[in-house]
Structure formats: C-alpha cells, structure tokens
C-alpha cells in the first residue's frame, strides 16, 4: 500500500484548482490553511466561491486579494483581535470587488459538509427558525417534518470542487491524523471533489498504524499531500506552534486600507519564490519561540505500542 501523493503546494494548486471553483478551507483559527491562501493569491485563482464555517486570515486574505466572488459562511472575522476589515470593505464598499454573501450558522454549515460527506442532497437542522437567516437565503428550505410535524430547516449538501486542510501529520498516501479540535475537517475531506492535505510532518505509514483511531481522513479522500511546516502561520497548530499575535496585529493594521493590504501582500506573499523564504523572513528565533509557547503547554503524545 504505497501510492505516493506527495507534491509541492504550487503544483497541487496549479493542477487541482481552477478559476470559478468552489473552495472549502479546514481548521478554524487553529490549522487554518493560511499558506494555501498565499499560494492561491500567488497563482491568482479567480472568481472563487468559498464555503466556510468560521474563518479568520485564510478567508480574509483571499477576499482582500480580490479572488472571491461569493462567501457561503457562518462567520468571517479576525478572532478577538479585530474586525474582518477586508470582508467588510468588500461587502460594504465593493473593494477590491464586491462579494456576494450567503449566511448560515456554524451548525448549518457543519450539516452542509456532513451532507456532502454522506453523499445525500440535504440534511435538516432545528436552528435558524425564528431568525432572518432563511429569509435572506433561498437555499434554506423550511418544512414540517413528516414524522412529528416539527418545523425543520433543510440545508443543501456542500460539494466543494476543492478543499484545503492543514493537519499535524499525514503519510504519503494521505492518511491524516489531526490532534486537538477537529472543526468540520472530517466531513470537509469527504465532501470535497478534490482534497489537498498540507501537513506539519509527513510520517511513515507504520506510525499511522500505531493508532488508527486517530486517522480522521482516509487516504481515499486525498488527492495531494504537501509537507508544509508552519503552514498555518500566523495562526496556530496544536502541538506545533502558538498564535503569532504581533504578526496578526501588523497585517490587520495594514488591512485598514486596500492600499495597505495590497502593500502587505506584496511584501509577505508575492516577494518570495518558496514558502521557506517566508519562514526565513520571519526568522528562526521567532519560529522557535512560537513552537516553545505551544510545546511548553501541549505536545502530541508519544504513542508506544507494546
């Protein structure tokens, strides 16, 4: 069992992502595929529709760079440290271009991914009744359930053309083990037509077999595997590194104007040829400290078979 799906991020994006694609992103704050957003910007993939639950930088960057046509989401913002300035500018002012919004709740987006993962056309949720969410979203169908007559809201399956999920560990086949919170990644992996896994470390399949209960994404969902340490920076990865808040604050400050954001993208996304150069620009001391802030608190446990 040795089909090798290892490639580079540039090649994976080039080969598997098209303009006008519907794109899903894994993680939430932790493990958001920020480096994948950088690469989408570098390759200028256009007119994307995003389907996301609650996302921070990974979505803000794509919107600010003008790649996004529409966002189907529950929440787009920048955590506790500030507003989603690019999101606001695009929706309110049409800068750099207007994006269409389609609102859901986190559970409703979760059910959309679960429906996609199960291969069923829809799933019901009890949320959203009595709110204005269905009023502004034609895809939510309210009905009385045929068993007890309760009001339920149907949401359609999410079937993204491509998904990016950043994990701690995967093998070359694509079997991926995620530690800490899982967000909606187990379902996103299955709902997507094509799946790009980026990971902090590629590990031997024999390591996967030590604890198969931790494999949340089976290889048969996966199209490409990319080893990409610090692929979620400036966000965190459980067991690997903590949030780089000063970096986040700086790009958020830059995002106050479109010009500021454009300059920031020029400096931090377009100025390098390989992601390693981005990491060099940050400096090994800074990366080591982010790692220490995490590992003093949590490390992935060592799994010892007898």
């Amino acid at each position: 069992m040795s089909v090798n799906k290892v490639t580079t991020l540039a090649e994976a994006v080039q080969g598997l992502v098209n303009d006008h694609d519907t794109v899903a992103l894994g993680g939430i704050l932790s493990r958001e595929p920020v480096a994948c957003s950088y690469e989408l910007i570098r390759q200028n993939k256009k007119e994307l529709t995003l389907i996301v639950d609650s996302h921070d930088e990974s979505v803000e960057l794509l919107i600010g760079a003008g790649l996004v046509k529409k966002v189907e989401s529950a929440y787009v913002w920048v955590g506790v440290i500030g507003s989603g300035l690019n999101f606001r500018r695009a929706v309110e002012k049409g800068l750099p271009k207007h994006i269409e919004v389609e609102d859901y709740t986190n559970l409703a987006i979760g059910m959309r991914f679960l429906a996609g993962a199960l291969g069923v056309p829809f799933l019901p949720v009890m949320s959203m009744s009595g709110s204005d969410i269905p009023k502004y979203n034609d895809k939510i169908i309210s009905m009385a359930d045929p068993y007890k007559g309760q009001p339920v809201n149907l949401v359609p399956a999410a079937e993204p053309d491509v998904a990016f999920i950043h994990v701690q560990r995967a093998d070359k086949m694509g079997n991926a083990q995620i530690w800490g919170m899982l967000a909606n990644d187990v379902n996103i992996a299955r709902a997507a037509k094509k799946l790009i896994i980026t990971c902090e470390e590629i590990i031997p399949t024999s390591e996967i077999r030590k604890i198969p209960n931790m494999t949340q994404i089976p290889h048969y969902c996966v199209d490409a595997v990319v080893e990409l340490p610090f692929g979620a920076h400036p966000l965190g990865v459980a067991g690997y590194y903590w949030l780089d808040t000063p970096f986040r604050r700086d790009w958020l400050k830059a995002s106050k104007t479109q010009e500021g954001f454009d300059a920031w993208v020029e400096e931090w996304v377009l100025s390098w040829d390989k992601f390693e150069e981005y990491l060099q620009k940050l400096g090994s001391d800074r990366l080591a400290k982010l790692r220490k802030l995490e590992r003093d608190n949590y490390q992935i446990p060592r799994i010892e078979n007898y």
Partner: protein, 283 residues
C-alpha cells in the same frame, strides 16, 4: 476597593453559572467568568468550546473558540458539528453569547447593520455573522447575553435577526420549534436586564453601583420597564478578582486594548510565558 467594569461584568456573569452545568462559552468576558465560577462556586461545571474542546484546563487564555488552548488537558477533543449537534440535542445547560444589536425580546443581530437605502448584500456595516450563536440561542437550555450598553445597540427594531430571543413575544419560540429556553439575563457594563416571564420583555433588574435608571433608559431605544424590586449588582469579591487577574495577567480581557497595540514579538513572548506560568500555579 475599586473595581473596573470588566471585573464587574466577569463577576456578575460568573455567578450565573451553576455547579454541574455544561457551559458553552465564548472568549473574552464569558471565558473568564467560566473559569472564575469553576474555581469558586461551580467546581463541577464543564466549559465547552464550539470547535470541539470540552472540559479543557488551559494554562493559556484562549483567544478564540478554536485555538490550541481550547483542548489543552481536555476531557474531549472532537468536531464542531458534533459539539453543536450536542447543543441541538439538548445537552448544554447554559450558553453565553454576545451581539452588536439587541431588541426588547432579546433577539440579537450580529450579521449586518443594513442602514437606510442599503441592502443585506450591500449594508452600511457588515458584521461577522452568526457563527454558532444562532444554534446556541435556539437550543441551549439557558442563554446569557453579554454586551456593552451603548447607543444604537439596544434598539426598537433589529436590522436583521441573527439569533432568536423571544422573537415577537410569548409563544413564538414554541411556534418556531425552538427547544432552548431563550435568553435569561443580559449582562452589560452598567446594569443587568432580565425578561418578564409573561410578556417576555426585557426589563432592568440590577444596577451597577453609581449608575442611574435614567442613564440606562437613555441608552435603550424602547420604553424600558424597570423591575419592581430593582437591585444593585453585588461587587466582585477579592477572591474573584484575584483569580481573573491570574488568568489574564496581560490584560487581554481585563486590561486596555491600546496597551497591547504596539507590543513587539519579544514582549508578546515574555507576557505569554508569564501567563501560562501564572496559570500553572492555579491548577
């Protein structure tokens, strides 16, 4: 002894959490409130984060509902849809949420301030959206709301109902099939509101020391009713304040925002280390 409004809010919120409850928590003031409750009067309460962390004992102040700290030493680390499914199923006792706008029935808007002549697709102010707030407002047994009492926040009519309170009045939640109990308390920086069991209308129930009824009424757009037994919010105890500062020594929630504005990476690193070392003493 002097208290800041943040300390008052954390303390007031923490006292509404009961022992043995499953507490679905947002970051900021609710998080501090949850930790204070668990260290003082609710040792068997369990904090639950939306993205999958249940029962964490973090040594770092979580910055979001999904960062690495939300599963440190946790009882369970699972999926977002699974945790919100558990809310829908009825396992969650109390949820603490916030909002940008609220009306007298406790409905919340966190989607958009649409504004005159504007539309949902092109509003005056776009907000983040529901996140999990609508799911919690729909299905948690009890809902606590934390938000600042400011002009244009306590409004006659919401631009957009993101999360249902009592909708348009008594019976509406039942008609909509919502299983949760609806909003119970609104904790602000000036007072505490509760809801009339019959009319479901929000009324002023407790004032912070030094705040007047008129001051509150001036910030509320509708004709606010005042409880027949208007109380004063009990100030935080020294024990509560000590715990909250040990958890947040860098003042992320308790301190001023500007203090952190120009922090260098080195300063940030040092403060974060101090933070988890200080919290380690608490565990």
């Amino acid at each position: 002894m002097n208290y800041t409004t943040q300390e008052f809010m954390v303390s007031a919120c923490s006292r509404l959490i009961k022992d043995n409850e499953c507490v679905f928590i947002g970051v900021g003031i609710p998080l501090l409130a949850g930790v204070v409750a668990s260290k003082i009067h609710a040792p068997n309460s369990v904090l639950i984060y939306e993205a999958g962390g249940i029962g964490a004992i973090s040594r770092r102040l979580p910055w979001s509902i999904s960062d690495n700290a939300t599963t440190d030493n946790a009882l369970v680390a699972t999926e977002l849809w699974r945790v919100l499914g558990d809310v829908q199923r009825g396992y969650i006792d109390v949820a603490v949420i916030g909002g940008a706008q609220i009306d007298k029935f406790g409905n919340l808007n966190t989607t958009a301030i649409i504004g005159a002549g504007k539309t949902y697709q092109r509003p005056t102010t776009r907000l983040p959206g529901s996140g999990g707030a609508n799911d919690l407002a729909s299905s948690a047994k009890r809902v606590l709301i934390v938000m600042r009492l400011e002009k244009r926040k306590f409004v006659e009519k919401l631009d957009y109902i993101t999360s249902p309170g009592y909708i348009a009045g008594p019976g509406d939640r039942e008609k909509a099939g919502l299983r949760g109990g609806g909003p119970e308390t609104v904790i602000t920086n000036k007072c505490i509101f509760r809801f009339d069991p019959l009319t479901k209308e929000m009324y002023l129930d407790e004032l912070f020391p030094g705040v007047t009824v008129d001051e509150v009424k001036a910030a509320v757009e509708w004709d606010l009713k005042v409880g027949s037994n208007l109380k004063q919010v009990e100030p935080p105890t020294e024990g509560e304040v000590e715990i909250m500062h040990r958890i947040d020594p860098l003042g992320v929630v308790l301190g001023s925002k500007s203090k952190q504005e120009n922090q260098s990476f080195e300063e940030y690193y040092k403060i974060m280390k101090e933070c988890y070392e200080s919290m380690a003493l608490l565990i």
